[in-house]
């Protein structure tokens, strides 16, 4: 249990990875290259700079630069950073899927990598066949899989369908079975890339639980996620990666704070653009684009008066149509603790079908928040609970200690808690209000 600094699990020394973009771009057809030469034969003859043809085609790109770190056994390390920052590249180097261009990484013990749930699952094969196939792909021995087979099936909750081809599974069953196999790996080092992006809330909870168990058993976990709350809850350490370099290595709360600073989220201006490469997770049919907090006159604000409804405009872009979408907005305390959640289906309202394009939805929340700072999470799910897009800590705002008209305030600003529900106070005897109370005779202590 806990980190063991004298026993390293992973040691990286000057690790660097270069990709030659010319090879990865395009369809990789030899004929296409020949065509390029045939179409522009003159360009070469005219003495056009060679950069236009040869150099550009293989422009090097350093996905990871000079990364050095040591991770001890039993540490749970979160990797945070924007899309394309180099997190997956780092995982691929640690897990020996790709070779580094420079430096080296040494791993101590058996490692298992989960870059995707269900790699190698074949739709035509039965659940049972896929468990054995996927298990052996992930590096388990046949005997190991057989020994854990019942546990795996139990974990996935698909006992009745083990002999059904997985193409007939619902996407939820499929993902559960695939994750169940991975969850029963017993590596010394577990490397996980953003697996929480798929599946419903229940599945995500299970994933997190499994990772916590693994870390608790003294094994090492490296975990890439845009779910910053999960990083803070699960990890003992975090690395912030930006532009291929390790920008920060330290306690999760500090690293997450620096990351939020870096990506410019948690805006206090009352209006936040959410960039495409912002830390988000979900299946991606829709992307949140902007969030704005409105005051009573419709202007942008960063404050809300006491007892005034909160109003937000959520702007989002639909990339692929969604049949039944559910909007969600969450208000959290500054430390990330969720205070309340509202969804567009609250009160048995219908989910929303979405067509491609950029749209804005306005949500008004009737809640009185106690005076302090809050942050807002926003996102969207399908009606079955799978997350389409989710962005945390987009906006920061302050609930003030007085009402807009100036007729209400807290006498003690340091009042505890987060919300002030509507309450009434009175006398149980008369049913009157608290103001009538003085007129009542005092209740006498009953005689013995």
């Amino acid at each position: 249990m806990g980190a063991d600094s004298t026993h390293p699990a992973i040691v990286a020394e000057g690790l660097g990875k270069r990709y030659d973009l010319g090879y990865t771009g395009g369809s990789g057809l030899l004929s296409e290259r020949l065509e390029g030469v045939l179409r522009h034969p003159l360009r070469r003859l005219r003495g056009a700079p060679p950069a236009a043809s040869r150099r550009d085609a293989a422009e090097p790109f350093w996905a990871l630069k000079d990364a050095s770190f040591e991770i001890g056994r039993g540490e749970a390390v979160g990797l945070v950073g924007r899309n394309g920052a180099g997190k997956t590249t780092l995982l691929k180097l640690i897990s020996h899927i790709a070779r580094p261009t420079l430096g080296r990484v040494t791993t101590y013990g058996r490692s298992a990598t989960l870059l995707e749930v269900g790699t190698g699952f074949h739709p035509e094969l039965s659940g049972r066949e896929n468990v054995f196939l996927n298990g052996s792909i992930l590096g388990m021995r046949r005997r190991e899989i057989a020994a854990k087979f019942d546990e795996i099936v139990d974990f996935a909750g698909v006992e009745a369908f083990m002999d059904t081809p997985v193409k007939r599974y619902s996407s939820g069953m499929y993902v559960r079975l695939a994750f169940a196999v991975a969850a029963h790996l017993e590596p010394d080092i577990l490397l996980i890339d953003e697996v929480l992006a798929v599946g419903d809330a229940e599945f995500q909870r299970k994933c997190l639980g499994t990772m916590r168990d693994v870390a608790g058993q003294g094994r090492t976990v490296i975990f890439v996620s845009h779910n910053l709350n999960a990083v803070q809850r699960l990890c003992t350490r975090a690395l912030l990666i930006e532009g291929g370099s390790i920008l920060r290595d330290g306690r999760p709360s500090e690293v997450v704070a620096e990351y939020l600073d870096l990506v410019g989220l948690e805006q206090a201006s009352g209006s936040a653009e959410i960039h495409a490469d912002a830390p988000r997770f979900g299946t991606g049919e829709v992307q949140m684009r902007a969030l704005r907090m409105l005051d009573r006159s419709g202007g942008t604000t960063t404050t809300t008066y006491l007892a005034e409804p909160l109003t937000f405009d959520v702007t989002f872009e639909v990339l692929d149509p969604v049949d039944a979408a559910v909007f969600e907005l969450g208000i959290c305390a500054a430390d990330g603790e969720r205070i309340c959640t509202v969804q567009s289906i609250d009160g048995s309202r219908e989910p929303t079908p979405l067509r491609p394009g950029v749209h804005t939805v306005r949500v008004t929340i009737d809640v009185t928040l106690l005076p302090r700072e809050y942050v807002v999470d926003v996102g969207m799910h399908t009606i079955s609970g799978a997350t389409i897009d989710w962005v945390e800590r987009v906006l920061r705002f302050t609930a003030l200690n007085e009402s807009a008209a100036g007729d209400d305030h807290y006498r003690w600003p340091g009042v505890r808690g987060y919300v002030r529900p509507v309450s009434s106070w009175g006398s149980p005897a008369t049913g009157g209000t608290i103001a009538d109370w003085e007129a009542q005779p005092p209740v006498r202590r009953a005689a013995v």
């Binding site: 990709y19 090879y23 897990s95 791993t107 190698g120 035509e124 054995f132 010394d188 094994r219």
Partner: protein, 280 residues
């Protein structure tokens, strides 16, 4: 240096050297993966199609039928080694279909499994190795049917039929040698997908499938024998048909070509595989 509790395994990931060698030990450690991937291919092949096993048998029969009609009846000049022409051509076709199917499957094995290459760590050679197995299972089924049909034609295979597994092994090695070249090249250039069917079609005419080696003028035979499949086809007919000529010294050329292909193919593959995950 401290030792981990769970395992004493220490692995270093470093830049690839100029030359890479195959780690046979690593492939042996992944034998179960080979088994499950091959099992997947076999299961999928027999599950998806309505006629299943029948298809494996029908393919060589139909092709042999077509060639019998067009070549056996129209041009009666093709010698067929003392057996009815349909029996002759079915023998060649049974082996050829294995080679052709395995070649295209091996050549596309890296691209077809690109998700595995990009996301899982395992010795990449597992993929071409696995790809020989499902066609080999098909071959065994077709082989049994071939024996039955030969007997029906009154052709009793000679005792040297026990050498058939050796010929199958030679065929598998040859096709693997050629296939791993394509499998490695296909990672970078998808053109391989276009080239393979064309190559297979062309090979039908420069390999003794529908005619025996004896048809080829003797002064061209050395050149002809550079095709490594010549030895496989001639060898297979020799073990199957009682009056087929024994493979002469000429076939050493063909076998040497097989050996060169497999050695160079494996070396090239081993060298290229360190970059597969980057460019696939």
């Amino acid at each position: 240096m401290s030792q981990p509790i769970h395992s004493e395994l220490i692995e270093v990931n470093e830049p690839a050297g100029r030359w890479a060698w195959l780690s046979l030990r690593e492939i042996w450690q992944h034998r179960e993966l080979v088994y499950y991937l091959a099992r997947r291919d076999v299961a999928v092949r027999y599950k998806q199609t309505a006629v299943g096993v029948l298809w494996v048998v029908l393919q060589p029969l139909l092709l042999a039928g077509v060639f019998s009609v067009f070549l056996g009846l129209l041009t009666r000049s093709i010698p067929h080694e003392g057996v009815p022409y349909p029996a002759f051509v079915l023998t060649g076709m049974t082996m050829w279909l294995f080679l052709a199917q395995a070649l295209s499957k091996i050549s596309m094995s890296t691209v077809d499994n690109s998700a595995l290459i990009a996301k899982i760590r395992f010795p990449r050679l597992v993929l071409p190795l696995t790809s020989v197995l499902q066609p080999a299972v098909d071959f065994i089924v077709a082989f049994l049917v071939l024996i039955a049909i030969l007997v029906a034609y009154g052709v009793v295979p000679p005792i040297r039929i026990v050498l058939a597994p050796a010929i199958l092994l030679l065929g598998a090695a040859t096709v693997l040698g050629l296939g791993v070249w394509f499998a490695a090249i296909a990672v970078r250039y998808r053109d391989v997908k276009q080239i393979i069917p064309f190559l297979i079609q062309a090979m039908v005419f420069v390999t003794p499938i529908i005619y025996p080696l004896s048809v080829v003028p003797s002064h061209y035979r050395i050149l002809y024998a550079l095709n490594p499949f010549v030895a496989v086809l001639e060898g297979f007919r020799w073990v199957m048909l009682p009056h087929a000529p024994s493979p002469g010294l000429l076939l050493l050329v063909s076998v040497t070509m097989s050996a060169i292909l497999i050695v160079t193919g494996l070396l090239y593959f081993a060298r290229a595989e360190s970059r597969f995950a980057d460019i696939i």
